[in-house]
């Protein structure tokens, strides 16, 4: 009814342009190159690579949270649970079946995704405060399970053999490379998600649920899908986390700190922005690192920064950084409409 599409009229920038541009590809590529080159720089020791891998883990986990909380608008304080599911799946497979690191991580992601799907169904009617409480309960629930069921070996923990990829043993450097590749893939996934009809449906449910439904968005389907993808991405982080130090224990994974940290990383960085989890993940890992002697002070600092961001920059740090870029791009890309007369 609106006439055939005139192909020559297509603006090349269109596809990238369908939601407000909030990321900078140049920056992203530079970041990944730097991360991949980092372990090979002179003077970089193994522990530094491990520390960098830990940042990557937090970034991926926060990406998972951002899908659900940032883009779909469902606040989760339970992603530590999905992290634990990913980590234990990979750890148990490695311990009992000596699987490859890659297989372990993928299995962890799938298992977390399955649980995410189920939790999405169980909490279908929840939103806001109720969703936050429910997900928090889920994280505690997972914690209780790993603490008490023998196969998870509770606080004793499970020690894992050296990481193997394609039959080769890899050290800290190799592990960081694998982590960065995983991060690249999850970032691509989120980029595609946000710039597709699926991401649009998520955001539509977030902003105006009824209007989204009357536009044909199946609430049950897309909510559950968001839960599944979100949990699976955090599951990837879990699989990686288990193998950084080759050890999983309820001491660490039963704690709700992970859940809380991931949400904070997402909010501080900017929950609905591609760069948000990067900034937030870096922040959450590096604050205690720099303040190692003052662990309690790092708690205070995290809290104060979080509250400061909420009061001063509700869109997160990435939002503040992106603002001048956005203004610039808006001018450059769309000076005038490119629509065709009917």
């Amino acid at each position: 009814m609106f006439g055939p599409v005139n192909k020559s009229s297509l603006n090349r920038g269109t596809l990238a342009n369908i939601t407000t541009l909030r990321q900078n590809w140049g920056l992203m590529i530079a970041l990944f190159t730097a991360a991949l080159a980092f372990p090979f720089l002179p003077g970089v020791e193994g522990w530094m690579a491990s520390q960098a891998a830990l940042i990557v883990v937090y970034i991926i986990a926060a990406q998972g949270v951002s899908i659900l909380t940032g883009y779909t608008g469902l606040v989760t304080v339970g992603h530590g649970g999905f992290l634990a599911i990913g980590a234990y799946t990979s750890a148990l497979l490695t311990k009992y079946f000596a699987v490859d690191l890659i297989i372990g991580i993928i299995s962890g992601a799938i298992m977390a995704g399955v649980f995410g799907f189920l939790l999405g169904l169980v909490f279908l009617r929840l939103s806001g405060a109720f969703m936050a409480i429910g997900t928090l309960g889920f994280a505690f629930f997972v914690g209780t399970i790993v603490n008490n069921i023998p196969i998870f070996e509770g606080r004793e923990g499970i020690s894992l053999p050296t990481n193997r990829v394609l039959g080769m043993e890899i050290g800290d450097t190799g592990f960081l490379v694998i982590s960065v590749i995983a991060l690249g893939l999850t970032t691509l996934l989120i980029y595609r998600l946000v710039h597709s009809g699926v991401g649009r449906a998520f955001m539509a449910l977030r902003d105006a649920e009824r209007a989204a439904e009357s536009s044909g968005v199946n609430r049950v389907k897309y909510r559950t899908l968001s839960f599944t993808i979100s949990a699976a991405v955090t599951g990837v982080a879990g699989g990686l986390n288990a193998h950084i130090v080759n050890y999983v224990s309820a001491e660490v994974f039963a704690d709700i700190w992970y859940s809380v940290d991931f949400l904070v990383a997402t909010v501080v960085g900017g929950s609905a922005m591609l760069m948000g989890p990067f900034i937030g993940g870096f922040f959450i890992v590096m604050v205690p690192f720099f303040l190692e002697e003052l662990a309690d002070f790092s708690f205070i600092l995290k809290g104060v920064v979080l509250i400061g961001v909420l009061i001063l920059a509700p869109a997160g740090i990435a939002g503040v950084i992106a603002r001048p870029f956005q203004a610039l791009r808006a001018k450059r890309i769309c000076p005038k409409s490119t629509g065709q007369p009917k």
């Binding site: 008490n148 909010v267 708690f299 995290k302």
Partner: protein
């Protein structure tokens, strides 16, 4: 055995109720789930500890001091953090209380260390007989305190000007403001009340568990579960929910083994939220939250 488990379940539940009621009161007047509620209580416990140990004060004076500390803490939190962002969306309000959770954890760890401390005042360990079961005196005292506070709340909401105003704000903040109720002051009062309840939760629980920065984490979750029983809206619902959790987990612990004790509340929350998110008792008023 049943009677004993039941009574001590009620005693534990009564302490959960203090947290649950605070969660409900804050939620229905400010739309915020207060994640720092447990840490308010933890600060109260530490304050009492300091008053007794370092200042050599009497238990009751220390309790009063803890209440004062927590009320001031709640009020300060509202003024400094929550008021500037009062018009923000739900996630912002919630994460602000999360920020407070970090800050209080850090402050407690910084001042008093991460290791657990015994509370200097303990109860006489000889159990006494209550309706056919042997119950520790501590439990009886806690029940008495919690019951007293419950009556006080009832009186407050039913007969005092502020209490009635607070209920009006709960029902409809906009209309309340048009009717000349000082909504901001009522919100401040709400946070003060959260601090008040937290102080009792912390100080009464301290002899039973221990004093440490994370002492309230699990209690807080159980408080949430109890609050959900009342649809996050009804105070009697939250109290009943808290008692039910206390009793159920005590029964589960007594008959099935202590592993099941902690799991009970979490199973309850998942089941409850899956099937009756509007709460077991009454109808929740504002569905969008």
């Amino acid at each position: 055995m049943f009677g004993q488990l039941f009574i001590s379940g009620v005693a534990t539940g009564a302490l959960y109720a203090l947290t649950a009621v605070a969660v409900v009161v804050v939620f229905r007047n400010t739309r915020t789930i207060n994640l720092a509620q447990g840490d308010f209580a933890m600060v109260g416990a530490f304050a009492a500890l300091v008053f007794i140990k370092d200042f050599g004060l009497n238990y009751y004076v220390a309790l009063f001091g803890a209440v004062l500390t927590c009320v001031l803490l709640g009020i300060a939190f509202e003024r400094i953090v929550m008021r500037p962002i009062a018009d923000s969306d739900w996630l912002t309000l919630f994460t602000a209380t999360l920020g407070m959770y970090y800050v209080l954890h850090g402050v407690a760890g910084w001042f008093w260390g991460r290791d657990t401390k015994a509370f200097p005042v303990t109860f006489d360990p000889t159990p006494i007989e209550v309706i056919g079961g042997l119950v520790s005196q501590g439990h009886v005292i806690n029940m008495a305190w919690a019951g007293g506070i419950g009556l006080m709340l009832f009186w407050f909401f039913r007969y005092t000007k502020q209490g009635i105003a607070m209920r009006a704000v709960t029902d409809d903040p906009d209309t309340a403001m048009l009717m000349g109720i000082p909504v901001r002051f009522i919100v401040l009062l709400t946070w003060g009340m959260a601090g008040f309840l937290a102080a009792f939760a912390g100080v009464l629980l301290a002899p039973i568990v221990y004093v440490a920065p994370e002492m309230m984490d699990e209690v807080l979750i159980k408080g949430y579960v109890a609050a959900v029983f009342g649809g996050l809206y009804s105070i009697p619902g939250a109290i009943l929910g808290a008692l039910m959790i206390g009793i159920t987990e005590n029964m589960a612990g007594g008959y099935l083994g202590s592993h099941f004790k902690t799991a009970t509340a979490f199973v309850m929350i998942v089941v409850l939220l899956a099937f009756r998110p509007q709460g077991l008792f009454g109808i929740q008023k504002r569905r969008e939250f």
